[in-house]
Symmetry: C2
Subunit: 371 residues, 2 copies
């Protein structure tokens, strides 16, 4: 379902497309995060208007609220939230191990208590695949254990064994349940920041065979250079003819560095969460709209942007909206930031196409860090 | 600028139009409240899409934030907030006496401290007219004193003298500053719930002569029947060929009762504030979307509504959005409620046009209270 269209002449950057029944995703691409069936503050038509081609949603959060019964009755997540485009769902591995309470790994799966109301849940690699089938995800992720940083080597060694075992079981369940459904299952490579364990995990996960491969457990606190080192080591193990997904990343700089190392898709709360904190991404860098200098600035957030926010409202007005805690401000900056990310990815694709990726990266980041 | 088009055959209901330089307002009509330069949660294009023809904004709030300098530099409130339609601005009389701190009436005007940061302000009837000119309001309100309910008779007697004095000064200032501007100034009739004082205030305010007349100080806690009694007594004093404005009202029931008594325009936070609390107005009555019964209800909020919310989302999804405290839920219900009010007013106008107002009122309220 992934087609490699072109490799960059001087880096590992790739141009490709990822076909799903809900539409094609041009890669490299970025997925805004619709954690619990909504991209915070935004409506699906706005997300589409932003140029976004695919959303991420979280199985863990959807399992807790609204739960499987309601989404089944709604006819799946696409219908429930009225998003017609592709959806990738995270398995919940990351959330169970970071957000849930009293998490216990058992032989079969993992027991935890909801961070919302303390209700007890037990999930298995199989049940998580089934739940993602129920959601109607276009791209499903296997259940994995995402270790913290820093993490003892012996813990990580054990953990990748578990993740590999779960990946096998996930794939078996996926094959069993897939039938005529048009959907994909991605494996997840773990291994912390131990390069040899990353190699080991990559080898094992690739051996099982998936439609795409994610690199998990990065951008969890490790130094940036170490993250790039792990990427350098790991991406080489992933087959060319599959999607390369870097989970939970990231910043504009990280996206450039990771595309350069061969990553195709990303997800991160950076554009949306920052927007709600008053931070806008612009072609000239980051802008803290609460800063008093914007009080009387009657230009748009980004002169080079054609989003609804930039076409219709001034920095002064949005500063005012944040000052009075008005929701419209959160909406406008969220829409702008999501548009900024979609446009960034579009430009990256364009520049790979014409073999100018490195020049574009250098120009963009040069302007970007000026402010 | 107000044209009376038709009187209902059997009640005092009126069909009219109110011309402003930013567009015509068909009456009876309802103004959603954009307190501080934004209708909470909504963007101007959504407000327009809802069928809303005119907004209300508050001079008091805009004086505090963002203040006159910024709005002047922005070229007025319309440009600042990107709303192209008519705007009526309240003078701040109500807010100064209910929201501001350490409020002191002096010979010239009134001193108070901001409820936001305690900063001291001094406003006069003249300065409030000037500020509304700066805002570029299509319809300005005179500074008045709005008394609480219940209120001692002797206090109300003194108060309406002040309100009348301020109204005279406001009009003088308005004439002085208006020049070629196309805008209107409305007087405000006070008098609490003392029918003779209402008559007295109405007589005095009408004598001064304004483009329209508001009835202030109602819906502030008095019994509903008493409010209707005051309306019955007061509206008769207002010239036919001027706009009749009932401030801060109201509920669906109050709108029907007041239109029947000759009111042309209304403003109230009821549709928007209730939306943010999860209360939707529908053709079948009020709906508390947080109620568990809507968890698995996959019908729209209102089958008879064509708003973006009702065309695209289910009660189940909106229930979920409220359950997870997602802003999109507030937006969707706000848009629905504002659309509901705009459509209600449109239907009321239609029914007055065909001399069926009373039948419509009876049918509508019959269905409305079923739930």
């Amino acid at each position: 379902m992934y087609t490699l269209l072109k490799k960059d002449k001087s880096t590992s950057a790739r141009l490709g497309k990822l076909a799903t029944v809900h539409g094609e995703v041009e890669t490299p691409n970025f997925m805004p995060v619709g954690t619990i069936g909504a991209v915070k503050t935004l409506a699906p038509d706005e997300i589409k208007e932003s140029g976004t081609q695919i959303l991420l949603s979280n199985a863990y959060h959807l399992l807790l609220r609204p739960g499987p019964d309601i989404i089944r009755e709604a006819g799946g997540l696409h219908d429930f939230m009225n998003w017609k485009g592709p959806i990738l769902t995270d398995s919940g591995g990351f959330q169970i191990f970071s957000l849930a309470q009293l998490c216990k790994i058992k032989d079969d799966g993992v027991e935890f208590r909801s961070h919302i109301d303390g209700a007890k849940y037990f999930v298995t690699p199989e049940s998580i695949v089934e739940f993602q089938m129920l959601l109607g995800s276009d791209i499903m992720m296997v259940l994995d254990e995402c270790v913290h940083y820093p993490c003892q080597r012996d813990y990580v060694e054990q953990s990748i064994k578990l993740t590999t075992d779960w990946a096998k079981r996930s794939k078996e369940e996926f094959i069993l349940y897939k039938q005529n459904r048009s959907c994909q299952l991605f494996g997840i490579i773990q291994g912390g920041t131990y390069l040899d364990l990353r190699r080991q995990s990559a080898g094992q996960i690739v051996d099982i065979g998936f439609d795409g491969y994610a690199i998990g457990g990065l951008s969890v606190g490790e130094p940036r250079d170490l993250m790039y080192e792990v990427l350098d080591v790991t991406v080489g193990f992933i087959p060319d003819e599959s999607t390369h997904y870097l989970m939970g990343v990231g910043t504009v700089e990280d996206i450039f560095e990771s595309v350069q190392r061969g990553i195709d898709i990303f997800d991160c709360v950076v554009p949306t969460r920052n927007a709600r904190n008053g931070l806008a991404f612009t072609s000239c860098g980051k802008m803290h709209i609460r800063n008093a200098r914007y009080k009387t600035d009657f230009t748009p957030i980004d002169e080079e942007c054609n989003c609804t926010c930039c076409l219709n409202y001034t920095r002064s007005y949005i500063h005012h909206l944040f000052n009075i805690n008005e929701i419209l401000g959160l909406r406008l900056l969220s829409l702008h930031n999501v548009t900024f990310y979609a446009k960034l990815m579009k430009n990256i694709r364009q520049e790979i196409r014409v073999d100018r990726f490195l020049e574009f990266k250098s120009d963009f980041l040069g302007n970007y860090s000026k402010e």
